[in-house]
């Protein structure tokens, strides 16, 4: 059994001035080196979860531990070093006046010595392929580039977990591709754990495991195949099914019996062009 890097036990959370719980009795583990997607429609509690994980909010009841450290007021600074977050709006998380200043911001906060800082800034920008933009100002960068700088800022702190909190939802398809590709490469290189919080099932389809949230509770947990076999149930939860899944469902309704649910268009195309030969 792999080791759980993050574990939530019976976590409940309620925002002030709100009658219903944003999260209710949530229990699950996140394992080392996996890509976990947390999906759900607006208000399902998925973004609250991200805030709880790095101590931006504290649960009313239940326990959260990250890398074996119990999350509380004292430990949040250590935990934030281990758990980097990339937020939704590319502009509103860019603190520095230039690319390198922004990457250095997190390092400055944690009191990293300057010599080490210079190396880490350059190194992490190289990893996200933004090292030619060292002195560029943020308003000259595209959304995808800004998000990659944000990833570099997180990487520079050498975390073991990266949380993408809707990090691609404000990007165009090209930027989205760039960002996800960058994270995927990094995950493989550094055996990072990735938690991607998203409502884009297409993005989730590429994860190792998916947790579906609904009304503050864990509705379902499983591999992408398991989750996408829920079909209409997902639609009822306010989630949009990826095109390839919709397509294979449509085939099935027409009486063409495909062997399984297809998560990527490529797989579907492969099945389709080899299909005839099977009959």
């Amino acid at each position: 059994m792999r080791e759980a890097v993050v574990s939530l036990r019976n976590v409940s959370f309620q925002y002030e001035n709100q009658s219903s719980y944003a999260l209710q009795n949530v229990t699950f583990d996140i394992f080392e080196g996996e890509w976990l997607a947390i999906v759900g429609h607006n208000g399902s509690g998925k973004s609250t979860m991200a805030k709880l994980l790095n101590g931006l909010q504290f649960p009313q009841s239940g326990e959260i531990s990250v890398c074996g450290i119990q999350l509380n007021e004292e430990s949040i600074w250590d935990i934030r070093k281990k758990l980097g977050m990339v937020f939704q709006n590319p502009d509103n998380q860019f603190v520095g006046t230039t690319v390198q200043d922004d990457v250095a911001f997190g390092l400055e906060n944690h009191g990293v010595p300057r010599n080490d800082m210079i190396f880490r800034v350059e190194d992490s920008l190289k990893k996200v392929n933004m090292d030619q933009f060292l002195n560029q100002e943020p308003h000259h960068l595209s959304g995808g580039q800004k998000q990659r700088v944000a990833i570099a800022g997180v990487l520079a702190l050498r975390p073991s977990i990266i949380i993408l909190d809707e990090a691609t939802s404000m990007l165009d398809p090209k930027g989205r591709g760039e960002v996800l590709e960058t994270v995927r490469t990094l995950k493989n290189e550094k055996s990072l754990t990735v938690i991607s919080i998203t409502h884009d099932l297409e993005e989730a389809a590429k994860a190792d495991r998916i947790i579906v949230m609904n009304q503050g509770e864990v509705y379902r947990e499983g591999t992408p195949e398991d989750i996408f076999s829920m079909d209409d149930e997902l639609v009822r939860l306010g989630l949009d099914i990826p095109f390839s899944i919709k397509m294979s469902n449509a085939f099935r309704q027409k009486g063409i019996d495909l062997s399984k649910h297809y998560l990527s268009e490529e797989e579907l195309v492969n099945e389709l062009w080899t299909f005839r030969s099977k009959i």
């Binding site: 931006l56 934030r80 980097g84 937020f87 200043d101 400055e108 906060n109 800034v121 702190l157």
Partner: protein, 265 residues
């Protein structure tokens, strides 16, 4: 259109003045503003003039940029000149036309004061023209560091300044966007009577305000998530380096001050 309005007007170049440490530049400008008041006769003004022109020459800033900086205050200079010329009633009478009397001292004072204005503006714009806003912020932070002892929030001020600088272009872009959106809805920003035009700014300002607050909140969360917890225990990425040229520049200014004190009447 908005791009042009960015404050600072920094002109990138690789001159001696550009390479100076922002701290020495800030000190030089501050001292210059003080010692310019020592000048009170022909020789001292010539001396200040030579120094200013020398500094401008060293900065290799094209004259048109200097002129652009001077343009808005030219009227003010002219106004003070006229004020002095017409209202100083000392020295011998030079010219008389009905109630208007122009005295020698008035002309002298007028010319001196407008010269003083001129040099002041040239030197201060030299600072903004050769130093990036972020360098100025860094310089101020280190220079004001001793004020920390009296609990002046130096680090916070510097951070606020640098974040404001970073968000100016972002907010400019946003203003542009909102403006276009409102124009598309029939708001007229550039025509009609003044009263209407001022009213038209309200639907521009309100969305801008709302979104700025939202940005501020998200930025604060992002900063906290990246481990920001105030100035304590923070290291700095940007490094200022005081070089020989900085010390020399300060020495030149000291020499100038001594000369001014000796030559003033």
């Amino acid at each position: 259109m908005m791009e042009k309005m960015i404050i600072g007007r920094y002109v990138p170049a690789d001159s001696l003045i550009h390479r100076l440490d922002p701290r020495s530049k800030l000190i030089i400008i501050f001292l210059f503003v003080c010692i310019i008041f020592l000048a009170n006769n022909f020789f001292t003004y010539i001396l200040i003039g030579i120094y200013t022109i020398l500094m401008l020459g060293l900065s290799r800033i094209p004259v048109r940029f200097l002129y652009a900086g001077l343009k808005p205050v030219l009227w003010l200079v002219l106004f003070t000149l006229l004020l002095q010329v017409f209202f100083t009633k000392e020295g011998s009478l030079l010219y008389e036309l009905g109630p208007i009397k122009i005295y020698e001292e008035g002309v002298r004072q007028g010319i001196f004061i407008s010269m003083r204005f001129f040099f002041l503006i040239l030197m201060t714009s030299l600072l903004t023209l050769t130093t990036t806003p972020i360098e100025i912020t860094d310089g101020l932070e280190t220079l004001l560091h001793p004020l920390k002892k009296v609990r002046f929030p130096v680090h916070e001020m510097a951070l606020m300044m640098s974040i404001s600088l970073r968000f100016i272009p972002t907010l400019m872009q946003e203003t542009d966007k909102i403006m276009k959106a409102q124009i598309a809805r029939g708001v007229e920003f550039s025509s009609g009577p003044i009263k209407e035009r001022i009213k038209a700014v309200i639907p521009l300002l309100i969305p801008l305000f709302v979104s700025s607050f939202k940005r501020a909140e998200e930025l604060a969360i992002a900063m906290e998530a990246r481990g920001y917890r105030g100035g304590e225990g923070r290291t700095k990425y940007r490094l200022l380096s005081w070089k020989l040229a900085d010390t020399l520049q300060l020495l030149i200014l000291v020499v100038l001050t001594i000369l001014l004190i000796l030559l003033r009447s």
